[in-house]
């Protein structure tokens, strides 16, 4: 298991590469996460729990959504397990709360990841995923930028998945 070194290098590299996909990550301290999500989210918004101490969803985001709330929502907020600096990627893990559909169905996906959880490259990412996936019925999506297609004659962002992705990196 490779652990990332929590350096500004990791964040800077991640932010620079994510920027190539139109994502501008925001670095925020734990106690400002809720407020920042509130500012970024377009309503209605749904979310799944952020699993770190002192990091919460704002009241404006419906936690524990119903099927109907998911369908109506414009924004989905989820945690990302970790990020891959060299690819600007987020690693989204599936869970019982429904993070997979919440990160997928809405126009805007707001992902929250800890700065300590930025790994340098794909080798480190896959190393970290190996044991998780072998533990059985655990799944992950390496997500880079918004969903996209070129099948309609030109590149369009926002195919079946989100049109836009915002990333909060928790310091």
């Amino acid at each position: 298991m490779t652990q990332a070194t929590p350096t500004a290098d990791g964040y800077d590299r991640f932010a620079a590469v994510a920027g190539e996909y139109g994502i501008e990550p925001k670095r925020v301290p734990p106690d400002e996460v809720a407020e920042t999500i509130d500012e970024l989210a377009t309503q209605p918004a749904v979310g799944t729990p952020l699993p770190w101490d002192g990091v919460t969803l704002p009241e404006s985001v419906t936690a524990e959504p119903t099927m109907g709330a998911l369908e109506e929502a414009s924004t989905g907020v989820t945690a990302a397990s970790f990020a891959v600096a060299s690819y600007g990627s987020l690693v989204l893990e599936t869970d019982h709360a429904g993070s997979e559909p919440v990160s997928l169905f809405n126009d805007l996906h707001i992902a929250v990841v800890r700065e300590d959880d930025i790994v340098p490259d794909m080798a480190a990412a896959i190393d970290r995923l190996g044991d998780d996936l072998r533990a059985g019925r655990s799944s992950a999506v390496i997500a880079t930028g918004p969903s996209a297609t070129a099948d309609m004659g030109a590149l369009v962002q926002g195919a079946h998945g989100p049109r836009r992705v915002e990333v909060l990196v928790v310091t």
């Binding site: 524990e64 959504p65 119903t66 099927m67 109907g68 709330a69 998911l70 369908e71 690819y87 990627s89 599936t94 869970d95 019982h96 709360a97 429904g98 993070s99 997979e100 559909p101 919440v102 997928l104 169905f105 794909m122 080798a123 896959i126 190393d127 995923l129 190996g130 996936l133 072998r134 059985g136 019925r137 655990s138 799944s139 992950a140 999506v141 390496i142 997500a143 880079t144 930028g145 918004p146 969903s147 996209a148 297609t149 070129a150 099948d151 309609m152 004659g153 030109a154 590149l155 369009v156 926002g158 195919a159 079946h160 998945g161 989100p162």
Partner: protein, 732 residues
């Protein structure tokens, strides 16, 4: 002969060629750019290759391991012998799920087994959710590319199709409008689906994870929404461990569409520990453990386990379906997968897949479109020798063909071929016989070959395009010229070279041979030009492997004694350098092939080496800033030899501009064939544009085919690089 094939190709170039060309060239340029960012591209490719070699070697055990892992996770595994077996199983799963609708994400393997047709016959509505596949489902067309299936359709065509088919409230026009329309419509269809079917880019044996490489998010929805998931995958998709995915994740998008990584690399370990989605129950909480899910992994044999036993087709199973071999292929760029493809697969590696899963007939329909230019080999992330697979399959197709009984080619029948390749293949495969006759009867033979009646006969009998002129045979061959000239061998030469008299240099382009001799001697080298047989390139390109092997053995016999004596072998024709350095390992005993490969050099590579070791460029024909546009030869590039020509020209004072057209389009005899003449000229067009744009004082090229083709394109045949650089007079 193949008039209908020529018409088919002409039609595709007119209707789909522009869209295919723009997209594939874009992907290909993106690949070069994206792989250049990797620190260790070659190392990643080597690892990917090693993983696949190992996985296919251990495939039976891996299939059992996957079965155990997936079953332990709560899923089921079915290994289907063939398409019918797979479809029967999938129908049963749909029956058990009472399925009215199955939604699919993109899967070539599902196209191979034609599961859509099988399910629709059983009353199941099948919806393709990949936007490109959906366009084709609406248009009732087949994919033209294995990764970007609707690559042949322009935005305007898709808009016309949707507006006519769906009659939307507001006319659809932009790509964004078309995408939004498709997203909404397919979103509704996915929401009501009972079963989701995906393919698999990779399956890991240790965790039972299905890796899906996508960008639209439709595969994620296809897996997440319905309770029942089916993944259809060829048995060759299994890799041992999760960790083995790393090189593939880094290579697949770069190699294919030139993306560093696609939007989503999903690593699903089904049945998912994630809630299913049911918008018909709006008050139900989303959260759930996914215990209502079921998962079926359908592993398809359909000929693959036989391919695994086949020494020549086995490598096909390493293919990760990235499409690099299609995008990098000059012919594919002109015609796309509707011509360069069989029942399911398209592009260079498709010959292996089609021969293995659908049979030789399906491969025979397009196998000739591979010219063996080899540009796909360095592009392939797992290093498959795709031209060799095409050659082997061509040889097998030849073996099944009836013997033609045309007097014209009786003398050209290769004794070694057990069965008969067609007249056209035999003519080009035995160009050596033709060259000997042509030279003996020159110049009469030149007048006859290029006379109107002879051109018409050649086209009718052997399918030689009448638009082409045959290269002129010379009365005095290079070997004869060397034998007859007055030259005193140097007393203590710096190096000793045997210059291989390739067929083109010896019989037709004798001047470039003389230039090579002058240049080498001016640099202090002793040069001998012995009589030697053809390299075997011509028969090999026609799939006549036995004949090629005989010629290789003849070459090794002639050159062997010189190698013993410490001579270096220098070759002018790049396609023959490629024979000595690469193809001979398939044709000769290992030690013999290795010795020849290690000691043979392309002429400019050798000159570059001499200059690097103290020889003076001043001994050559130098200039002060004259400009040159240079087109390197495809196989020369694959061997990494292009830089030597460029650097040597620069060392002699030339300003060099290079082309990046992957191939000139002539590719040996390909452009001479009547059914491919127009395609060949179409491929040549991008080269012509580049050469003209360079506005150089001189154009030079390295290969016989290239100089022929450029001559036809520009009405002026360019010289070989060595003719530009050789001193005008002999030094000895």
């Amino acid at each position: 002969m193949s008039k209908s094939k020529a018409e088919h190709i002409r039609h595709l170039m007119a209707t789909e060629g522009d869209a295919i060309g723009e997209n594939t060239r874009g992907f290909n340029a993106g690949r070069y750019e994206s792989v250049a960012k990797l620190e260790d591209y070659e190392g990643l490719k080597d690892r990917a290759r090693a993983i696949k070699e190992d996985a296919i070697e251990n495939l039976p055990a891996l299939i059992e391991e996957v079965r155990e892992t997936v079953e332990a996770n709560g899923g089921t595994v079915y290994v289907a012998d063939d398409a019918a077996d797979a479809n029967r199983y999938v129908r049963e799963v749909c029956d058990d799920a009472d399925a009215d609708r199955l939604v699919k994400s993109k899967s070539m393997t599902s196209e191979e087994i034609e599961v859509n047709e099988a399910l629709e016959a059983a009353g199941v509505d099948v919806v393709e959710t990949d936007l490109g596949e959906w366009v084709l489902q609406v248009a009732e067309e087949a994919p033209s590319h294995i990764v970007a299936p609707a690559i042949h359709k322009s935005r305007e065509e898709i808009a016309r199709l949707f507006n006519a088919h769906f009659d939307p409230e507001a006319e659809l026009e932009s790509a964004a409008e078309l995408t939004a329309f498709a997203r909404e419509r397919l979103g509704d269809l996915i929401a009501d689906a009972d079963v989701g079917m995906t393919g698999a880019n990779f399956v890991t044996a240790d965790s039972g994870t299905i890796a899906l490489v996508t960008s639209e998010g439709n595969a994620r929805k296809t897996v997440t929404v319905p309770e029942t998931q089916i993944a259809v995958a060829g048995v060759e998709k299994i890799v041992p461990t999760v960790e083995d995915l790393q090189p593939f994740i880094e290579l697949i998008g770069r190699s294919g569409t030139g993306q560093d990584i696609t939007s989503y690399v999903s690593l699903f370990t089904p049945p998912l520990d994630s809630p299913t989605v049911d918008f018909d129950e709006p008050t139900e909480p989303l959260a759930d453990d996914g215990s209502d899910r079921e998962f079926h992994l359908v592993l398809i044999d359909n000929g693959r386990l036989s391919m695994r036993e086949d020494d020549d087709l086995r490598e096909t199973l390493y293919c990760i379906r990235c499409s690099a071999c299609a995008n990098t292929c000059a012919n594919f760029q002109s015609v796309g997968g509707h011509a360069f493809g069989g029942e399911t697969y398209s592009g260079g590696i498709a010959t292996g897949w089609e021969a293995g899963v659908h049979g030789l007939d399906s491969a025979a329909a397009f196998n000739d479109l591979c010219t063996g230019c080899s540009r796909c080999v360095p592009a392939c992330p797992v290093g498959i020798d795709i031209p060799w697979i095409n050659t082997v399959v061509r040889d097998r197709i030849n073996g099944g063909e009836d013997l033609p009984r045309e007097f014209l080619v009786d003398g050209l029948t290769p004794d070694a071929e057990s069965d008969g390749p067609g007249v056209q293949k035999r003519l080009f495969g035995n160009v050596e016989t033709l060259a000997k006759l042509g030279s003996a009867f020159a110049p009469v033979s030149n007048w006859v070959a290029n006379s109107t009646p002879a051109a018409a006969v050649l086209e009718r009998v052997a399918g030689v395009a009448r638009e082409r002129t045959f290269p002129a045979f010379q009365q005095t061959t290079l070997v004869e010229w060397m034998r007859e000239r007055d030259a005193v061998p140097p007393v203590s030469p710096d190096r000793k070279v045997v210059l291989y008299p390739d067929l083109y240099t010896n019989y037709m382009l004798v001047d470039r041979g003389k230039a090579a001799v002058r240049a080498l001697e001016a640099l202090g080298v002793e040069v001998l030009v012995p009589e030697a047989p053809g390299s075997g390139r011509a028969p090999l390109s026609q799939g006549m492997i036995d004949t090629a092997r005989q010629q290789a053995e003849g070459v090794a016999e002639v050159l062997g004694p010189y190698l013993e004596e410490g001579y270096d072998v220098v070759v002018i024709e790049p396609s023959d350098v490629a024979m000595f350095r690469s193809d001979y390992e398939r044709l000769l005993p290992d030690a013999e092939a290795e010795r020849l490969a290690d000691n043979s050099y392309e002429i400019l590579e050798y000159v570059y080496g001499l200059l690097s070791n103290g020889a003076e460029a001043e001994a050559l024909a130098t200039t002060d800033g004259e400009s040159v546009a240079y087109h390197s030869h495809c196989q020369q590039r694959t061997l990494g030899l292009e830089p030597y020509s460029i650097e040597t020209m620069e060392a002699c004072g030339y300003e060099v501009t290079t082309t990046d057209a992957e191939c000139c389009g002539m590719a040996g005899s390909f452009g001479y064939k009547q059914q491919y003449y127009e395609l060949s000229m179409d491929v040549g067009e991008s080269l012509e544009t580049q050469l003209e744009a360079a506005e150089a004082d001189q154009i030079v090229a390295s290969g016989t085919s290239c100089t022929d083709q450029i001559g036809d394109l520009l009405d002026d045949e360019p010289p070989h690089v060595i003719e530009l650089l050789a001193p005008e007079t002999e030094t000895r």
